[in-house]
């Protein structure tokens, strides 16, 4: 075992800020949707708009960071080991088997994570941002161009929100499936994680 730095300072800042914003967007968004009452409708609307802007800025920084550092390759889906990763979660994990794809600084995400995160980055986040800002600025027809109505935008935005809720739930659970129950969480806070030497394999 070796202490390896796998999350840079920006990555951790990005992750935790994103967590805060998604949590805030989720609570305020579903309040606006009419699912429950927390801050009051007006406060929720204002918070939702402000955190939407913050999320946009953060996303621009993250995209910039990915392109500049080349870390975007971490999120590219791979074909190998998808099946064995699925099998691991379905049976291996109960038999104390090792993770089929070892975590390294060069490849932090397992094949399933790559698929899911890629989906978030390519599909869910852009859809949420685009529908979100359409919602904010084009909520009336013929202003300045015709959107049939808010309905399509709003329903897509809601759909994306539900997917994010499901993602967050699964994500929270899977944090506990690392080398130890808390090793993943610790890594995202400190940046360091105890990883097996790749030659051990």
């Amino acid at each position: 075992m070796e202490k390896v730095k796998i999350y840079s300072r920006f990555e951790r800042f990005w992750h935790w800020t994103q967590m805060v914003l998604i949590l805030l967007l989720g609570i305020t968004g579903f309040e606006i949707h009419g699912s429950f009452e927390v801050f009051g409708f007006e406060t929720s609307v204002r918070l939702h708009s402000a955190s939407g802007w913050a999320f946009l800025v953060l996303t621009i920084f993250a995209a910039f960071w990915m392109i500049v550092t080349g870390q975007s390759r971490q999120f590219m889906p791979v074909r190998n080991n998808v099946k064995s990763q699925i099998m691991y979660y379905m049976s291996g994990i109960f038999k104390n088997e090792p993770h089929p794809v070892p975590k390294t600084a060069e490849s932090k995400l397992n094949p399933l994570q790559r698929i899911v995160y890629f989906g978030l980055i390519i599909l869910v986040f852009p859809v949420q941002l685009i529908t979100g800002f359409l919602y904010l600025f084009f909520h009336y027809p013929e202003k300045p161009f015709a959107l049939e109505s808010l309905e399509t935008v709003a329903v897509l935005h809601t759909l994306g929100a539900f997917l994010l809720v499901v993602f967050v739930i699964v994500h929270l659970y899977l944090i506990t499936t690392g080398h130890t129950i808390s090793s993943n969480l610790k890594a995202m806070i400190t940046g360091y994680e105890d990883l097996e030497h790749s030659e051990n394999k």
Binding site: F10, V20, I32, H33, L47, A50, S149, V155, T190, Y192
Partner: protein, 530 residues
């Protein structure tokens, strides 16, 4: 040392910086502009440039109100033409109604679902005409001496048109305890800009009593709290009608859609306020699709009740002596009158909401009934109409008499001075009252009548609440809010896609169940593998 620096970095990037972002976000969200303040000069600050009591011509013993009018016009030349060009004089105006073309409509010839129509009941209804003695078709609309200057300009509160005299004040012959002959020189020497009660004497009491028709215009506005009306309250600016209903050469701004159709010569709140009065983007954007009135008049009839429902079909029941009688509801309002039928009154009423673009249809005397309830004056507008806004509306519902064979609404002859003239209010005979009413209006009547449900729409404009009492978001942005009947658009907080919501919640539940099962499996495995 390195360990310390690593911990410090971890706290900074994983905790402090995200919290800083959250803090900034919350601060930005909390930013709210100050609403703009309005400075206006009120008409009550107007100082008259002359003292009418000094004019010799006004110091004569006027025999008739016509003589007073002649005296007025001897100085105020040309004003008669202005007055005679208005709807206040003509009780009709040329309008263009989509699908019906150019028509001349007004109080003179329109049907309604209160007393069905004024024409033919002149003795009573034309008391609210600004002329003197429009008692029948012989009234001369070209005679400027028939103008009643005093009813609008009297400042003494002693000049009244007498009941049942078609707009004439009491004379030596007709004077009684309630109506004396006006002191013409006194009144004529004390004239000025119309006060609230000059307008209110007709506009408060239309339909036969205070607040019967409008719901948002009634005598309480003469002296009311802020809660009732922020503009007209004597706790505040104490504005008069003409402060908003600004007037150029007797052309008074403002439209009442029970008698109007066109989007012209209307009053806008932004005459004094701006179109972005909140200085707050979220609130100001609402102006695109909402009338100011929608949020700022959460309730009408705040002081006295208004008539919400009028069922004519139950009228005519007499007591054992053969006389008409009345019954009151718990609040002391009539809920039955033999001459009129059953009523429902209500106060502190939540308006209904309609899209409205400033144009309205009217059910004309020549129209036939094609839908029930009959829409007396349908308001036009829809979400996709960029000129339409959501408007608070008083809907007056009722059942009124119609001609079964001709499928038309009937003009009733309700009023007459004496029994035996065929007026329903004296003789209680539907057939005769219908025949005479229709005859007077030159309309055919088959003799076959029944009652039909009808609705009249009164956009609400008065009784603006203090800002603390305006509608809150969730009055509309919620599952069963005030805008429930406006289905032609997506309203956040109210609307959602059922499939998406059900699938989303279902997926969340499935995920939680799956995670729970998986977790149990891991716990079992943990002990097994020990």
């Amino acid at each position: 040392m390195k360990k310390f620096s690593n911990s410090a970095t971890a706290i900074l990037v994983s905790l402090l910086l995200p919290i800083a972002v959250l803090y900034i976000t919350v601060k930005v969200a909390a930013f709210k502009g100050e609403p703009e303040k309005v400075e206006v000069k009120l008409k009550s600050e107007h100082i008259s440039s002359v003292d009418h009591s000094q004019f010799e011509i006004l110091q004569q013993d006027f025999a008739t109100p016509h003589d007073v009018t002649a005296a007025c016009l001897s100085c105020h030349t040309g004003r008669d033409e202005e007055v005679m060009a208005t709807a206040h004089w003509k009780w009709e105006r040329e309008v263009e109604i989509p699908g019906k073309g150019k028509v001349s409509i007004g109080k003179k010839n329109l049907l309604n679902n209160f007393c069905t129509g004024a024409n033919g009941n002149n003795g009573s209804c034309m008391r609210c005409h600004i002329g003197l003695g429009w008692k029948d078709k012989t009234f001369d609309f070209s005679d400027n001496l028939n103008i009643d200057c005093l009813v609008c300009h009297d400042q003494t509160d002693t000049y009244f048109k007498q009941k049942g005299q078609a707009g004439l004040p009491a004379t030596e012959e007709t004077a009684n305890a309630a109506y004396q002959v006006p002191d013409y020189p006194y009144v004529a020497q004390n004239v000025g800009l119309p006060k609230k009660n000059n307008c209110g004497i007709c506009h408060f009491y239309g339909g036969g009593g205070n607040n019967v028709k409008h719901g948002d215009l009634e005598e309480a506005l003469l002296s009311c709290s802020k809660h009732v009306d922020v503009h007209m309250t004597n706790e505040g600016p104490d504005m008069a009608c003409i402060d908003c209903h600004t007037t150029e050469r007797h052309n008074i701004k403002g439209k009442l859609y029970s008698v109007s159709s066109m989007n012209e010569n209307r009053i806008d709140c932004d005459q004094c306020h701006t179109a972005t009065p909140h200085n707050d983007a979220v609130l100001d954007q609402h102006f695109e699709k909402l009338a100011c009135q929608t949020c700022h008049i959460p309730e009408y009839a705040k002081a006295n009740a208004t008539k919400m429902y009028w069922d004519w079909s139950s009228a005519g029941m007499l007591d054992d002596a053969g006389h008409g009688y009345s019954e009151d509801d718990a609040d002391g309002n009539h809920n039955y009158l033999s001459i009129k039928g059953n009523f429902v009154w209500d106060d502190n009423v939540k308006p209904e909401y309609y899209w409205f673009n400033g144009t309205a249809d009217h059910f004309l005397t020549t129209d036939t009934i094609s839908e029930i309830p009959v829409k007396i004056n349908e308001l036009f507008g829809e979400y996709r109409d960029s000129t339409a806004k959501i408007w608070p509306v008083k809907v007056h519902r009722g059942k009124q008499i119609y001609d079964v064979d001709h499928n038309t609404l009937i003009n009733l002859k309700l009023w007459a001075a004496e029994k035996g003239e065929g007026a329903y209010w004296k003789d209680f005979d539907w057939d005769t009252a219908s025949r005479l009413g229709m005859e007077y209006n030159d309309r055919p009547y088959s003799g076959n009548y029944d009652f039909v449900a009808s609705e009249a729409y009164w956009p609400i404009n008065h009784m603006v609440s203090p800002k603390e009492e305006t509608l809150t978001c969730t009055e509309c942005h919620s599952r069963e809010g005030r805008l429930d009947n406006l289905k032609d658009f997506y309203l956040p907080g109210r609307d959602y896609s059922k499939p998406v919501d059900y699938a989303g919640v279902g997926l969340i539940i499935l995920t939680l169940v799956g995670i729970f099962a998986h977790f149990l499996g891991r716990v079992v495995a943990f002990f097994k593998n020990k």
